[in-house]
C-alpha cells in the first residue's frame, strides 16, 4: 500500500497486519455475504476488535485507546477502502467517536470507552430530506419536560444507521440551539426504513415522533454546529483516504486486465489511447493521495482554514475518483459492467465518495468563498 504520508513504524505495522487480515478473512468473494444483512458484518467487526485490536488505535488514551488520532484513522481507512469495507468503521469510529471525544460529560466518556472495546457503535444522524448537504438545516426538534427529552423530525439516508447501537441525532431545542440527542434504536416513536446503498452498504431513513432521548449531549446553550462541521471535515478527509485505497485496487486490477486482454491480435495495453488514459488516471490518483496526506497538517488550524483545506482535498479526491472509477470500467469493457468483478463495486463506492457531503462544485464554491473577489 503506497502511504499517504511518511508512516511511523507502528502505523506501517498496523496497516500491514490489517491488510493481511482483510485478504484472509474478507476477500472480495466474501464481501457480498458480509453485506447481505446489517448483522452479517459481525465477523469484520469482531476481527477489528478482537483479532486486531484496532478500534482504539486512533482514540484517546483516557478512553482506552492508543491516541493515534486522525492520522491513524486515515491509515486504517486506506486499507479498509482497498477491501471495499469502510463501514461500520468510518461512521462509528471516525465520525461517531470523533463527536463523543469532543463532547463534555460522563455519558460521552462512557460511550467512547464502549467504542474502543467494540460494544458501542455510535452513528450520527444529521442530514434531513430537504437539506441537501447542509448540516445547519435542521427541522428536527427536541423538547424537554416531565424529566424527559423528546425528539421529533426526520433524518435522511443515515449511512451505517442499521449497524448502530446508538444514534446521535442533531435537533434544535426550545431556544433554537443545535443539540445532539442520544437515541437508542429500540426507543419508542421511531419509524425506520433500512436502505441498501448503491455501493452495497447500509443506511436508514429515520423518523422520530416524540421519541424519548436517552440524553442530550453537550452543554445547554452551546450550539453544536461547529462541532458537526469539524466532524464532517474529518469524515470527508477519512473518505479521501479510503478513496485512495479503493483507487489503488482499481489501478492494479485495470493494469492487469489491459495487459492480459487481447483484441485485434494484441494486448489492450499496446494501444496508445489506452496508455494515455491510464497515465491520466494514475496522475489523478497521485494528486489525491498527496493532498489527502498533506491536509492532515491543516486539521488543527482554525475552522475557516481547515474547511478550505478539506474542500480542496475533496476536489482532488472527487476528480480522481471519477477519472479512475470511470476509466477502470471503460478499460474493462463489458467486464466492467458486471456485478461479478470487484471493479464495478469499487466504481460504485468511488461514485458515492465523490458526492460525499456535496459534489465538486459545492467544494469549489467553499474554496472560492474563502478568498472572495472583493
Amino acid at each position: 500500500m503506497d502511504a499517504l504520508f511518511p508512516l511511523s513504524d507502528t502505523q506501517a505495522l498496523m496497516q500491514d497486519s490489517l491488510s493481511r487480515w482483510l485478504q484472509d478473512h474478507a476477500p472480495f468473494e466474501r464481501r457480498a455475504g458480509l453485506l447481505a444483512t446489517p448483522e452479517a458484518i459481525t465477523p469484520l467487526w469482531t476481527g477489528l476488535t478482537q483479532s486486531l485490536g484496532l478500534l482504539g488505535a486512533a482514540l484517546p488514551e483516557e478512553s482506552g485507546g492508543l491516541g493515534g488520532g486522525l492520522a491513524d484513522h486515515l491509515v486504517i481507512l486506506q486499507a479498509l477502502g482497498h477491501a471495499l469495507l469502510p463501514e461500520p468503521y468510518a461512521a462509528c469510529v471516525v465520525t461517531g467517536a470523533g463527536l463523543l471525544q469532543r463532547l463534555p460529560g460522563a455519558r460521552a466518556r462512557q460511550l467512547l470507552a464502549g467504542v474502543a472495546d467494540g460494544t458501542v457503535r455510535p452513528v450520527l444522524a444529521a442530514l434531513e430530506p430537504s437539506g441537501r448537504h447542509d448540516l445547519s438545516q435542521v427541522a428536527t426538534t427536541v423538547r424537554s419536560g416531565d424529566g424527559a427529552s423528546r425528539l421529533s423530525g426526520r433524518k435522511a439516508v443515515v449511512r451505517a444507521a442499521p449497524y448502530a447501537t446508538h444514534w446521535l441525532v442533531s435537533a434544535r431545542d426550545e431556544a433554537g440551539t443545535l443539540r445532539l440527542a442520544l437515541v437508542r434504536p429500540d426507543a419508542s416513536g421511531i419509524s425506520r426504513r433500512d436502505l441498501r446503498l448503491a455501493d452495497g452498504g447500509w443506511a436508514a431513513e429515520l423518523a422520530f415522533d416524540a421519541t424519548p432521548a436517552e440524553a442530550l449531549l453537550g452543554d445547554a446553550g452551546t450550539d453544536l454546529l461547529p462541532l458537526l462541521l469539524q466532524a464532517a471535515d474529518e469524515a470527508l478527509l477519512a473518505a479521501g483516504a479510503e478513496a485512495v485505497g479503493v483507487m489503488q485496487r482499481l489501478m492494479h486490477d485495470t493494469l492487469d486486465y489491459v495487459r492480459q486482454r487481447q483484441q485485434f491480435g494484441t494486448p489492450l495495453a499496446s494501444f496508445q489511447v489506452v496508455q494515455h488514459r491510464l497515465a491520466d488516471m494514475h496522475m489523478a490518483w497521485l494528486l489525491a493521495r498527496a493532498l489527502v496526506g498533506a491536509t492532515l497538517a491543516a486539521m488543527d488550524q482554525p475552522a475557516p482554514e481547515r474547511r478550505r483545506a478539506v474542500a480542496s482535498a475533496q476536489v482532488a479526491v472527487a476528480r480522481a475518483a471519477r477519472s479512475v472509477g470511470q476509466g477502470a470500467v471503460q478499460l474493462h469493457g463489458g467486464m466492467g459492467m458486471t456485478d461479478e468483478l470487484a471493479v464495478g463495486h469499487a466504481f460504485k463506492r468511488l461514485t458515492l465518495i465523490e458526492h460525499h457531503f456535496g459534489s465538486v462544485d459545492v467544494h469549489l464554491r467553499r474554496v472560492a468563498a474563502y478568498q472572495p473577489l472583493r
Binding site: F5, P6, L7, S8, T10, Q11, G67, G68, G69, L70, A71, M251, L255, V258, R259, A269, Q272, V274, Q275, H276, L278, A279, D280, H282, M283, L286, L287, A288, A290, L291, G293, A294, T295, L296, A297, A298, A309, A311, S312, A313, V315, A316, H363, L364, R365, V367, A368, Y370, Q371, P372, L373, R374
Partner: protein
C-alpha cells in the same frame, strides 16, 4: 501520538531563512527588475534583465543553489529550496533561463572531465556564459533520436554540418551544447554524441523565429563546416544519448507550484480590479471566482505532490516517472491558469502592444490584460517543450505497465 507530514511543518530555522530571503529581495530586487519579472510573458525573462538579476544572485551566492556545495551550491534542505522558489516567485523576480544552470551544468557534473568542469562551470555560476540548447531539428522533434546534424572527426577537431531549431535565446548565447550524429551504424540512439562549443565559431548562423505572441525567444541555428576542438566532446563518442536523456530528466524536474501560486495571486488581484465596478451579484464575477478556486485547488494538490516527491528524493527513493508526472501536471496547470488570465482580461485581452507602452498615453490600458494574452499564447509551448506531454504520457504508461 499524532503524526503529520513533516513537509508541512515550518520550523523556526525555516522562518529565519524566509526572513533572510525577504530581506535580500527587499534590498536587491529593484523596481525595474521586479517590473521585468512582472512583464515576463514567455517562459523566461529577456536576456538583459535576466542576466542582471542572475549576477545579483551570484554575488549573494544564491545563483546555483541546487549544485553540489563544492561548485557553489547552497546545501539547502528541500524546504529551503521551496521557500526560496516561492519567495522569488511571489516577489515577481525575473525568471531565469535554465540552459546553463539547470541543463548543461548537471550533465557536466555527471559526465564531464575535471578539465571540462573547471572550464565551464565557474562561468555559468558567475553569469559570464549564456548557453543555448541544440536538441531539436526540423525533422526531429518528439522523435529526437532521428536527429541528422552531423559531426565528423577530423584530427583534433569535429566538423559540424546541419541545423538545430527552437533554440531558445540563441541570439544571446555565447555557448551551445548540441546533440550530433557521429555514426549511422546501429540503432539511431547509438550514433549520437554530445558536444559543447562556442557560438562565435565560424560557420554558425542564427535565424530568428518570431513566435505567435510576437516575441523573439526562438531561433533556428545553422552549422556550415563548423570546426570545433575534439575536447568539445562530453562523455564518449556515440554515447551521447544517455547524456541527452539525463539532461531531459533534469529539464523536466523542479517544482511548478511556487511560481503557479504567485501567478494565481496576480490573477486574483487583476480580477478584483476587473470586477471592481460590477454589481456584487455579477454572474461573471462568480464564474471567475470559481475558476480561480479551481486553479487554487489544483495548485494545492500539485504542491503536495511536489513536496512528497522532494521528501522521497531526500530519502533516496528511486522515482523514475516523477519528472514526467511533474512536467505534465505543472505545464497543464500553467496553461489552465493562462486561460483564466485571458478570461479576466475581458475585452482588453484582444489588444496587442508592448506592455511597457500601456501606461504611456493619456488613454492608459491595463497592462495585466496585455500580459494575459501574451502569456496565454506563449504558454502553449509548455506542453510541447522538454518532450511533448504526449511523450510524457507514453513514458508514464510504459512504467505503469511494466511494474
Amino acid at each position: 501520538m499524532v503524526s503529520s507530514p513533516a513537509c508541512n511543518q515550518s520550523t523556526a530555522a525555516d522562518d529565519a531563512f524566509r526572513d533572510e530571503v525577504r530581506q535580500f529581495l527587499a534590498t536587491e530586487l529593484t523596481d525595474d527588475l521586479r517590473l521585468a519579472g512582472q512583464r515576463t510573458a514567455g517562459i523566461f525573462t529577456d536576456h538583459d534583465d535576466g542576466q542582471r538579476w542572475f549576477r545579483i544572485l551570484a554575488r549573494r551566492g544564491w545563483a546555483v543553489p541546487h549544485w553540489p556545495v563544492q561548485w557553489g551550491g547552497c546545501g539547502w534542505t528541500p524546504r529551503q529550496h521551496a521557500i526560496f522558489a516561492s519567495e522569488l516567485s511571489a516577489a515577481q523576480a525575473p525568471v531565469l533561463a535554465p540552459q546553463g544552470v539547470r541543463m548543461v551544468a548537471p550533465v557536466l557534473l555527471a559526465f564531464g572531465t575535471p578539465e571540462q568542469q573547471a572550464r565551464w562551470l565557474p562561468a555559468i555560476r558567475n553569469g559570464d556564459d549564456y548557453w543555448a540548447q541544440g536538441y531539436s531539428e526540423p525533422g526531429s522533434g518528439s522523435d529526437l533520436a532521428s536527429l541528422q546534424c552531423k559531426a565528423v572527426r577530423d584530427g583534433d577537431s569535429y566538423v559540424i554540418n546541419g541545423t538545430k531549431i527552437w533554440t531558445t535565446h540563441a541570439q544571446w548565447a555565447n555557448r551551445i551544447f548540441c546533440l550530433v550524429r557521429t555514426s549511422s551504424a546501429g540503432k539511431p540512439q547509438q550514433g549520437i554524441s554530445f558536444l559543447l562549443f562556442d557560438m562565435d565559431t565560424p560557420g554558425i548562423t542564427v535565424r530568428p523565429i518570431i513566435s505567435i505572441s510576437g516575441d523573439h525567444e526562438l531561433n533556428q541555428v545553422f552549422f556550415d563546416d563548423v570546426r570545433v576542438p575534439a575536447t568539445a566532446l562530453l562523455g564518449e563518442e556515440n554515447k551521447g544519448w544517455t547524456i541527452a536523456k539525463y539532461l531531459l530528466v533534469h529539464e523536466r524536474g523542479g517544482t511548478y507550484a511556487p511560481a503557479l501560486r504567485a501567478r494565481l495571486g496576480r490573477l486574483q488581484r487583476a480580477a478584483v480590479q476587473a470586477f471592481a465596478d460590477r454589481p456584487a451579484d455579477d454572474d461573471e464575477r462568480r464564474d471567475v471566482a470559481r475558476l480561480l478556486a479551481d486553479a487554487a485547488c489544483r495548485i494545492d494538490a500539485l504542491h503536495a505532490l511536489e513536496q512528497q516527491v522532494l521528501a522521497a528524493r531526500i530519502r533516496g527513493e528511486d522515482q523514475p516517472i516523477a519528472p514526467s508526472v511533474g512536467k505534465l501536471l505543472g505545464t497543464e496547470l500553467r496553461q489552465f491558469i493562462t486561460e483564466i488570465a485571458v478570461t479576466i482580461a475581458g475585452p482588453y485581452g484582444a489588444a496587442r502592444l508592448p506592455q511597457a507602452d500601456c501606461a504611456a498615453h493619456v488613454l492608459a490600458l491595463p497592462e495585466d490584460a496585455i500580459w494575459a494574452m501574451s502569456t496565454y499564447l506563449n504558454d502553449r509551448a509548455a506542453s510541447i517543450y522538454a518532450g511533448t506531454n504526449e511523450v510524457q504520457r507514453n513514458l508514464i504508461a510504459q512504467h505503469l505497465l511494466s511494474h
